[in-house]
């Protein structure tokens, strides 16, 4: 699934929901190379989705590019909570 350029956090959460809710999907691999898209938006959407929906399927995410450090900080903080 392709998010298109500069997706909002809301759109990213909906994308995750569509994939997770599909019974044929066993696991999710995500890749975010921040250009016009921002890694911090991606991380915030991911954290909120996981907190709200507690998905049981494994998710592996790759993240690099613009706002990568901020994105990693958000994920790290969420992990510590």
């Amino acid at each position: 699934m392709d998010s298109g350029g500069a997706p909002t956090q809301d759109k990213l959460r909906k994308m995750l929901g569509l994939l997770i809710d599909n019974p044929r999907v066993k696991a999710i691999f995500g890749a975010r190379f921040g250009g016009i898209s921002r890694c911090d938006d991606w991380a915030k959407a991911l954290v909120q989705y996981v907190i709200e929906n507690k998905p049981a399927k494994p998710m592996v995410m790759r993240m690099a590019g613009n706002m990568e450090e901020e994105g990693r900080r958000i994920l790290q903080e969420a992990k510590e909570k």
Binding site: D2, G4, G5, A6, A31, F33, G34, G35, I36, A64, G65, N66, E68
Partner: protein
């Protein structure tokens, strides 16, 4: 050297007060890009990260006559006007970040650009970068290193991954150009290949195309005339017919735009075809000895 932009290039930002444009104005300035002015109609006199905003491109160029490159970040329905305004005001290269510009608008823009000898890059381009010198657009700076490989791709993310794999192998880029993912583009592969062929600081070129349209096929005959090695990668080999893959232009319609057709055209004209981005450095090493 490098192509299109270097450390001396003066550039302006159209739509500079928008959310994405202002954020990336900051990132471009941090990189060292010389942004001399911005344009948003009705917001003349404001400032964005120290960059003065003007109401029109003409006004901006009156104050900064040395600006030759503009990046356009306005919403799709205003893009045609913004690009034509830049062309008519005397800008030489217009980098169109805006995605999903109406097809007829882009056709009109392309004709005007041809008449006036202006290079329009995009729409839906991530922009371009001459590493260490200048960045126009929103490519992530960490991915690029100065070097002697020219890259040209339709997709932004592929531009980044490609540079990443070149850099991990010890290569770098003279210039990396994103052509954009919309169906109608300004600059095409051949335009950029010609510039790389003439650039003394580029030793080889990597082009990354994708399914949809015929831009790759149209560029193929020029590759035969080139003295520099060209490595080509085509994204979307597994794409089914009729399914749009992310970009508005990335779609196989009937027999048009298949990966096979592009690979065949490029290969038969002397390009080396790479199956994956990660094998490109090894191919370059062999070609460059």
């Amino acid at each position: 050297m490098s192509i299109i932009i270097d450390q001396n290039t003066r550039t302006i930002v159209q739509g500079i007060t928008g959310k994405n444009a202002s954020f990336h104005t900051k990132l471009m300035l941090d990189y060292g890009t010389k942004i001399v002015g911005g344009v948003t109609p009705g917001k003349g006199g404001e400032e964005v990260f120290g960059v003065r905003v003007y109401d029109t491109v003409r006004e901006c160029l009156r104050a900064h006559p040395d600006a030759t490159v503009s990046s356009v970040w306005v919403p799709p329905r205003f893009a045609k006007d913004a690009i034509l305004e830049a062309i008519d005001a005397g800008i030489k290269t217009v980098v169109v970040i805006t995605e999903r510009i109406p097809v007829h608008d882009m056709l009109c823009v392309r004709e005007r650009a041809r008449e006036k000898g202006v290079m329009v890059i995009g729409g839906n381009t991530p922009g371009l970068i001459s590493p260490g010198k200048s960045l126009v657009g929103m490519l992530p700076r960490i991915t690029f290193q100065p070097g002697r490989i020219g890259t040209v791709a339709r997709s932004g993310a592929i531009t980044y991954y490609l540079a990443n794999s070149l850099n991990l192998a010890g290569f770098g880029e003279s210039t990396s150009v994103g052509l954009g993912g919309d169906p109608i583009l300004g600059a095409n592969f051949e335009d950029i290949l010609r510039l790389f062929e003439d650039d003394p600081e580029t030793d080889a070129v990597v082009m990354a195309g994708e399914i949809g349209g015929v831009y790759e096929e149209l560029a193929a005959p020029f590759i035969k005339q080139m003295t520099k090695p060209v490595v080509a990668f085509i994204a979307g080999r597994a794409a089914p017919q009729g399914k749009r893959l992310g970009h508005a232009g990335a779609i196989i319609e009937g027999n048009l735009g298949t990966a096979e057709s592009k690979i065949e055209a490029l290969r038969s004209n002397g390009a080396v075809i790479a199956q994956t981005l990660s094998e490109i450095p090894e191919i370059l090493r062999q070609k460059l000895g």
